[in-house]
Amino acid sequence: MSGPESSADGLGLTSHDPARAAGHEDPPPRVGFFTDTSICIGCKACEVACKEWNSVPEDGLDLTGMSFDNTQTLGADSWRHVAFIEQRKPMRFVDALAPPGAGAGGDPDVADGRVRADGDFRWLMASDVCKHCTHAACLDVCPTGALFRTEFGTVVVQEDVCNGCGYCVPACPYGVIDKREGDGRVFKCTLCYDRLGDGLEPACAKACPTQSIQFGELDELRERAAARVEVLHEAGVTDARLYGEDPADGVGGDGAFFLLLDEPEVYGLPPDPVVTTRDLPRMWRHAGLAAVGLVAGVASVCLLGERARP
């Protein structure tokens, strides 16, 4: 745990190599998750494996009525969260027995005849997780250096340094990191930093039975994801799109990115997240001007107008 705690150029907002920008010399390749929600079956094995491996405490056994989602959200005690979305939309599936060219049914979206659009109900499932942003607001605003960038390019909280100030909580544009009740400190996904050090994949990816959660080197995951979207588009699943894979986005790209089948906000994800510290230089300029204005205002009311009466 000797990693530097702050980006080398202060904010590190120009770098696409966060480990090197944080001062790691000759770091291993950046790793992350590609979560392909099109093959998630909602089994929650990822949630369970994460809790077991990381000793994350139980945080309420509620029945929410939110489809099969009783976890509700990511937080200090839920580092993986499987979302369930029920929609009045036809479900698309591949009919492996149908001959090619058959059964398109006049649907212009269905290019390959083996893909059927059936019924008026579909169920989206998606396992959410910390995004391990290239430009991580939680890490930037942390006043103690408890949050740091690992050599793998991931973002981890050092529990023995966190003082529970809570600044990272509203700084995260995804609503990931949160304070643990009764403890006071913040917790989130570490991308199984301890397992990475031993050459193992994170517990959630290991446990995923459909390879919806894929762990690997980020560059390779991005290629794999692009190919997967292409396959889905060719098969007529035109609403498949990648989320968080673009290094040009507001957080410099996510270390954990997704293939979604609907708009991000349907899954509880922000449509256009931005690292808040991107605007920090401008905030300080305005604060500086406001401070100068305060001095000028007080000086003028002391010096101008009526003089002091004896």
Partner: protein, 301 residues
């Protein structure tokens, strides 16, 4: 659906917030913003009053600055999940964290405010007092305005989207509070700067709030409705009443001046609690996160 305003359509995940709302207590954090602003602006007013021969006003401002910053420290430490680890913020110097810079700033400012106040009240060590007065007057404006950056440097729509205007609002609110304290503690013969500052600050605050609300578009609702709306309106009424009272009856009547001062202090506190409440509301409702982001994305496409 007739008669209802058409809302922009968007989906959400069971109406749950996108971002995690702040875990801060309003009393600790908004209370600190009020007290920190009062302290910082009072240090400037104290130095100005001393330089222009108004010792009673200077004494009031300096003593008030020390008291306010002392209570601030208690509030800040109290809000930490692990209060014993307050000093962990001094193990690094981290320019990307406004809270870290603020902690260093307070660590430099508080002793200066303390020496300035002690020297003014007890009339001892005038040279050290003068140096401390000058130091506190230099650091005070930063203490009064960095808190706006601290709030704006989050993903909270009502705060981040208003990051250009929030520092001016906080500076004006801090000046109004310092003016209010000066009106309570100093005789009317010496309180002329406080009276003028009350009017100037209240006017600046009214303008800053309007510019802020214009900037944040639909998120302005969070400043206008519910608890935040009531607090922001109370701040306006109290501010105008306080400044008006100070410039009229408060010129000659000590009781009227003090009452105006109380109104100005209350106005400043209401502003900070109002801004805090607006931020909480904007974080809790996903539409304030999704709406502006979707428009930004569509404008780019």
């Amino acid at each position: 659906m007739t008669g209802t305003r058409s809302e922009p359509r968007f989906d959400s995940y069971y109406g749950r917030p996108i971002i995690n709302p702040p875990v801060w207590e309003a009393l600790d954090i908004a209370g600190y913003f009020f007290l920190g602003g009062l302290a910082g602006a009072s240090s400037v007013l104290g130095a100005g009053a001393q330089a222009t021969g108004r010792p009673a006003l200077a004494r009031t401002a300096k003593a008030g600055a020390l008291g306010a910053i002392g209570v601030s420290f208690v509030a800040l430490v109290h809000d930490l999940g692990r209060p014993a680890r307050f000093v962990n913020m001094l193990r690094v110097f981290k320019p990307s964290s406004p809270m870290n810079l603020g902690t260093w700033l307070l660590s430099a400012y508080a002793p200066a405010a303390g020496v300035a106040a002690a020297s003014a009240v007890f009339g001892r060590v005038p040279r050290a007092g003068a140096a401390a007065t000058a130091s506190a007057a230099v650091l005070g404006p930063a203490v009064a305005t960095y808190t706006a950056v601290l709030l704006a440097d989050t993903a909270v729509p009502a705060w981040h989207d208003g990051h250009r205007e929030l520092p001016y609002l906080f500076a004006a609110s801090a000046a109004a509070a310092a003016a209010g304290l000066g009106l309570i503690g100093a005789p009317t013969a010496q309180a002329a700067p406080a009276r003028r500052l009350a009017a100037l600050a209240t006017g600046a605050e009214l303008v800053a709030v309007e510019l802020l609300k214009h900037r944040v578009e639909e998120v302005a609702e969070t400043y206008e409705e519910d608890r935040a709306g009531r607090l922001m309106r109370a701040a306006q009424v109290l501010g105008i009443a306080g400044a008006g009272g100070a410039l009229t009856a408060g010129r000659h009547h000590r009781v009227a001046a003090a009452a105006s001062g109380v109104a100005l202090l209350a106005a400043s506190a209401a502003t900070r609690f109002g801004v805090f409440a607006a931020g909480m509301r904007s974080a809790e409702d996903p539409r304030y996160t999704v709406g502006p982001q979707r428009r930004r994305r569509e404008a780019r496409a």
